[in-house]
């Protein structure tokens, strides 16, 4: 028996999923992928060999991406994945589900198409901020490899993002025993309509000049997130409710990066959600009225106290002794039931990834950044916003074959005096 000797367990390190990540392996499947995409558009065509090389350079810096998902008796966990992640040409459908045994068991994939590099990430490993950091590092490495002439003097520039591999469950770290509050489960108005064919997602990008968008928001005395959330609410009210009262409120769910609130640098998930919107009780709302309501809701809800309560709720549930010792299959079943009960609490989701910063020397190679949230049958339309330098990109992903919301949204912004350039993935052409 003395032959049984190896030290491999030193290499196969493992860590637990963070407090919110636990839900994603449970609820995800082909129809509900929990995969989102962040992309960068460069000015030159992508060379696959160089992209693979830059991925090989980038991955060692991000332990939280270098994992595979395993299941234990009571919880899922991540284990170091020793295989090599491969890049691939973009598929015709964005944000497809990662089969547990496919993709060398990695939970992210790097794609290329013409001038775009796309990073698709399963939400269990990290949130938008973590994914953007990975994409930025990957892009900077790629730009250096592709333009070696321009970077000849620099020998070892080091990572271009300041936080890399910090595996910390910041939910648990910042948990205080206090008043708890979970997410609202009251039903919100649901956008319905004919769906696109199986798994297909319609993508519409709208390019807007950052400065004119900022000027517009300043004139209305609102932030960009507040303004866009108000426009989405307004368009749902106009297009889907036909300006009539409805018994369920319009609720726009907005994810918030919690790192700045708690001074965290974790590379795992650390976000929370809040919802804005209103119950439509009459048919003569004006847009300005709606914007005021939503601005107030931002002020009330976007506070550290509010998020602390939500963290307290999530962590306390995870620490509950009965929950902890429930075998995984039973836990999964109950989590599914609870999740789907609360799934109708949103009408639409909007995520603003904010202004994306890269070191100055790389800026001239980059056109813009984009984010694609995964739309699914339960949550058919989502909207994401990325700002890079003078180019802001609003991206709608949708499972619906109609484009009423997108149309009203961009028409409203165009009416507000913005110049808008539209681009789509061609799905709406196919389905004429």
């Amino acid at each position: 028996m003395d032959k049984i000797k190896n030290n491999r367990d030193n290499e196969y390190r493992w860590h637990k999923l963070d407090n919110t990540a636990n839900i994603f392996p449970v609820i995800s499947n082909k129809n509900f992928s929990s995969v989102y995409r962040v992309s960068v558009r460069l000015k030159e065509e992508i060379v696959p060999e160089l992209l693979q090389e830059s991925l090989d350079m980038t991955l060692p810096l991000f332990d939280c991406f270098k994992v595979r998902l395993r299941h234990g008796m009571f919880w899922y966990y991540f284990e170091t994945n020793k295989k090599k992640p491969l890049i691939g040409p973009e598929l015709s459908i964005p944000c497809v589900y990662f089969q547990p045994s496919g993709n060398n068991q990695f939970l992210f994939k790097v794609y290329y198409f013409k001038k775009r590099i796309s990073l698709e990430v399963f939400h269990a490993i990290t949130d938008g901020t973590g994914a953007l950091n990975f994409l930025k590092e990957l892009t900077c490495n790629y730009i250096r490899l592709a333009n070696q002439g321009d970077f000849a003097e620099e020998h070892n520039p080091g990572p271009c993002v300041d936080m890399t591999s910090d595996i910390e469950d910041s939910y648990i770290k910042n948990f205080k025993k206090q008043k708890k509050s979970g997410y609202s489960t009251a039903q919100a108005y649901q956008i319905k309509g004919q769906k696109l064919p199986l798994y297909m997602i319609g993508v519409i990008h709208g390019y807007i000049d950052t400065k004119s968008l900022l000027d517009l928001c300043r004139r209305k005395n609102a932030t960009i997130t507040q303004y866009i959330a108000a426009v989405i609410t307004w368009c749902i009210y106009k297009e889907y409710l036909n300006e009539q009262p409805h018994k369920h409120p319009i609720q726009i769910s907005i994810p918030v990066n919690l790192r700045p609130f708690y001074d965290s640098t974790t590379s795992m998930n650390f976000f929370s959600l809040f919802a804005v919107g209103l119950l439509i009780e009459r048919s003569n709302y004006t847009f300005e009225e709606m914007l005021e309501v939503i601005k107030c809701q931002f002020k009330e809800q976007l506070t550290k106290e509010n998020f602390s309560k939500k963290i307290a709720f999530g962590v306390a549930t995870g620490k509950n002794i009965f929950v902890r010792f429930l075998p995984l299959p039973i836990k999964n079943l109950s989590m599914k039931i609870i999740y789907w009960k609360s799934a109708k609490a949103n009408t639409c989701s909007f995520s603003n990834l904010g202004r994306i910063q890269v070191p100055d020397i790389y800026k001239k190679y980059i056109e813009n950044f984009e984010v694609l949230l995964t739309a699914n049958n339960a949550d058919p339309i989502k909207c994401g916003l990325c700002t890079f330098e003078e180019r802001s990109v609003v991206t709608f992903t949708s499972r619906l074959s109609d484009t009423y919301l997108q149309r009203a949204f961009f028409r409203k912004l165009a009416n507000d005096g913005l110049e808008i350039v539209i681009e789509s993935n061609g799905v709406y052409d196919e389905n004429m």
Partner: protein, 229 residues
């Protein structure tokens, strides 16, 4: 190669510019007015509608299973003679679907297959025993023997693939623990002929002892992460 095309068409109704290589506005489908006649590059791969493979074999089996199950139930009902044998037919069909699908998937750990097969087979034989008029042969002999065989099989696999022991550790311990089910049944008086049960229990105890005493750091670490709570 074309340069980044920002020469574009306009939708007059939406008041937006459109980059797509198309004649209709993606938002409102109205015809675009050409700006300068230059067509843009597509920024997404061509749309592929048929993504789901049409698996004819699986569909034939599904069809036969449903027809077979319903035929059995109807025949059993029409010619009822005191035995609900159609339960057996339906159970057998379900057993085939669940257990066999799990067993032929290539990425699943072989020890996991043994574990799942043992559980499903045990449930199946107990159902057979009940339908045929309960005489206790399933719980007395078959179930304990299934667990003994499962324990020994996994042990052989581990001895053959010593270096990969940690990959089988979860299932080894699970089968070992489930191997105590017969002795629990005996304590509750369900089992009246305890010889096979005693053998199965001894094998389970030995398996678990073996894992805990001979398992090296990698096995212990594997068990720790698999059972973390």
């Amino acid at each position: 190669m074309k340069v980044m095309v920002f020469t574009m068409k306009t939708c007059k109704r939406c008041n937006v510019k459109v980059l797509d290589n198309t004649n209709n506005c993606p938002l409102c489908r109205s015809v675009l007015t050409d700006y300068d006649g230059v067509t843009a590059d597509n920024i997404y791969p061509a749309v592929d509608v048929n993504v789901r493979r049409y698996n004819i074999i699986a569909r034939i089996f599904l069809f036969l299973s449903i027809v077979g199950g319903i035929t059995a139930i109807v025949t059993n009902y029409l010619t009822y003679n005191g035995i609900l044998w159609s339960i057996l037919t339906v159970a057998a069909i379900l057993y085939c679907w669940t257990a066999i699908i799990h067993s032929i998937k290539h990425h699943i750990n072989v020890a996991s297959k043994i574990f799942v097969q043992t559980i499903f087979a045990s449930v199946f034989v107990v159902i057979i025993d009940f339908v045929m008029g309960y005489s206790g042969w399933a719980v007395n002999y078959v179930v304990p023997n299934l667990f003994s065989i499962a324990n020994i099989s996994v042990l052989i696999i581990i001895i053959v693939n010593r270096m990969d022991w940690h990959n089988y550790a979860l299932y080894q311990v699970s089968i070992g623990v489930f191997g105590f089910i017969p002795i629990v049944l005996f304590l509750f008086g369900v089992i009246d002929r305890p010889l096979t049960t005693i053998i199965a229990t001894v094998i389970s105890v030995l398996t678990l002892l073996f894992a805990f005493i001979f398992g090296d750091k990698s096995v212990k670490s594997e068990l720790k992460r698999r059972f973390h709570f």
